[in-house]
Amino acid sequence: MLQFTTRGIYCPQADVYIDPWQPVERAVVTHGHSDHARWGMGRYLCHPHTAAILRLRLGIDTAIQSLEYGEVVTLNGVRISLHPAGHIIGSAQVRLEYGGEVWVVSGDYKLTHDGISVPYEPVRCHSFVTESTFALPIYRFPDPASVLLEIKQWWRQNAEAGFNTVLLAYALGKSQVLLQHLDPATGPVFIHGAVANVNAVLAEIGYQFAGERITPETDRATIKGAVVVAPPSALGSPWLKKLSPYRIALCSGWMQLRGARRRRGVDRGFVLSDHADWKQLNTAVAATGAENVYVTHGYEGPFARWLREEKGLYAREVHLQGGETTEGDL
């Protein structure tokens, strides 16, 4: 029912692409991250919260049709519905059903709860297209609650030692998870402009997050014992100067490896991810009951072979163009 083409994952019967990277007539978008939601499609179909994010990121407002989780739209006989993926606000798995055959495209997902996005729900299917960003057994992430606790303690220690705490995390997704859990009683909470922009959009759809935007007018003296949430691109930029003296940490699944942390030259690396780790990926695949598994975005080769040889599934690796998620995209 689905084909892997040079433009993206394609359903010929419904004439619709899922997360295409080249302009097509009709696109289903799993979530608002830029490697999945691209500019130039004729029409977009996505969750209402993703729609709000697309309007901000892509500056489009007309051609978006939104679909609640579980709601069905039928295109030329293909029943299409979205289901929570637990990755970020509005993220969805795409279920397609035609002639009794069911496919699910996972998009990015995680099974742990972040306290903000609607938790992942397994969807039974015959064929499952799964991401594999962290599909190696070395990626067994610690419980996010314990990591968040560690982050809070670190902030407190830094504040006591007279340092600001800079936390680097995706502007959309992890930044909000951090802001949700940081206790304003410890000290002032500041945010980078990129995070503030995302928060403003999320506020329109009913999500409120703490954090004062740092602007050129912000009085340096007020940034003391503070926590500052900024995107990873801020690392090494002059923007950080204003926050001195500070200690800086990256919050990412890639921080599981010492080499990744040392290479970035940050003080700490907190393993906090919006993706499924090895165990979650295996749990998710098993929960779909799918016999055919197509592995994309990450360690396709090893994960497909594992599912084939150890789990007896018909599993294939699919190399999507631009689908090699690496630390560079952190």
């Binding site: 190696l136 057994p137 070395i138 072979r305």
Partner: protein, 532 residues
Amino acid sequence: MKRFTKLFIAIDQTTKTNAKVGAIVNYLENSDDRSALYAIALLIGNRPRRPVKTADLKGWAASAAGIPSWLFEASYHVVGDLAEAIALVLPPQAEPGQAFTLPQVVDELANLSKRTDEEKKASITGYWKRLDKDERFVFTKLITGNFRMGVSRQLVIKALATYLGMDETAVAHRLMGKWMPTAETMASLFSETTLGERDFQPYPFYLAYQLDTSPESLGDVGGWYIERKLDGIRGQLIVRNGQLFVWSRGEDLLTDKFPEFGPLAEMLPDGTVIDGEIIPWQEGHPLPFQVMQTRIGRKNLSPKSLSEAPLVMVCYDLLEWNGEDIRGRPMHERRDLLQGLLSSPTSYPALLLSETMAFDSWREVADFRQRAREFHCEGVMLKRKDSPYGSGRRRGNWWKWKTDPLTADGVLIYAQSGHGRRANLYTDYTFGVWDEEGVLVPFAKAYSGLTDKEIAELDNWIKRNTLERFGPVRSVTPYHVFEIAFEGIGESSRHKSGVALRFPRILRWRRDKSPEDANTKADLLQLIDALR
């Protein structure tokens, strides 16, 4: 083990020298003598011989993790560090709540070599079950070696000097040689009275930086000894109490590798320590470094290999004379004593005096340096005539001034991801030159020479321009050209290009060149001819 693991984490989490030194001092202050001694040994790299085979470790880890060996290999490749990969794939700690001391663990590992494979497996997998995630990593690191945890030897010396209230140079001296914590105490290692009992103990080597200013800034050329910089193995030759010890700069005891020096135990006076370059030598000239490499690699030295690569030590300094440490005396005095020693009635065929060359001006020195390869050397050493013999790498009194490297333009053809800090990033490159049939043949592998930013850019490009994957290696579209620098070049039947390079590294990314502009195999062979 818990405290040592904490020390490891503390050192690993900071890039600041003072914080690292502080963490080590703190550890020493809160340790009993034995734990302190073991920690020091590990930090400077003196650890027991690897008790188990890498393949066994991998196999046990994979089976404990419930994964097939190919998946372990794929994971290890991404991590780039065996101990870390093992610690990450193992299931969560099964039997928490037990504490082990560092000496206990290290001693058990040291004794494992004598045990059966079954016993080894039981011991190691037993620890894996009982240690937590961080401890496992450090524990496994003890086995796999390469125990580099972001501390240099100098840093450990600094911490010890603070802790013991001793001078750094004295601490550096006491730490020399491959001593094992099992056979020492803090007192035997550091107290004044025991120094004389340690006949094997070498002095810290004095190392030079590459000259990075104009030679004129060094003052009058007459104030300097100028010697050829030879490409051999830096060594220290010790004769004390009728025993001979030959140490390399890497602090490997190489006495048995060099039977040429054997007779010196009886010929040289007791209490003699000479610093020099060990190098194959024939008919008044050094032989190429490859000759040395084939010899060093041999386990058993046959008469044939001894005659093909006869070694000498070209002596340039005298550190101990008649049992007295004379490193503090000016170099001209030390050199006079050395000269006297080597010209004594009994001659030592394996010892040559390093010639000093007379120049009237720095200009002449510069000319010599330019043509160094013609004189079988890689440049010159400049040593201030009145300088004491220092410890470690210092600026000021000694300089090396190497000749410009040879260069060739090669095309990037293969890439492999690196280790440690460079794990999961394509940083190990293979470059090709064109052969007679217009095929790119590999001629150099290089890991260094690019900035982090260039590495990231290239990594990105490699992932998008991969032609084929062979396990961890990818072949890429021939597109990028790099200028490769190297110190020497020789013919080699082991390489497809027919040449082997010495110390290849990337000099610059030639974005202005396209693959057809790269050098050819014929160019390289011509270069070898020209250097003969």
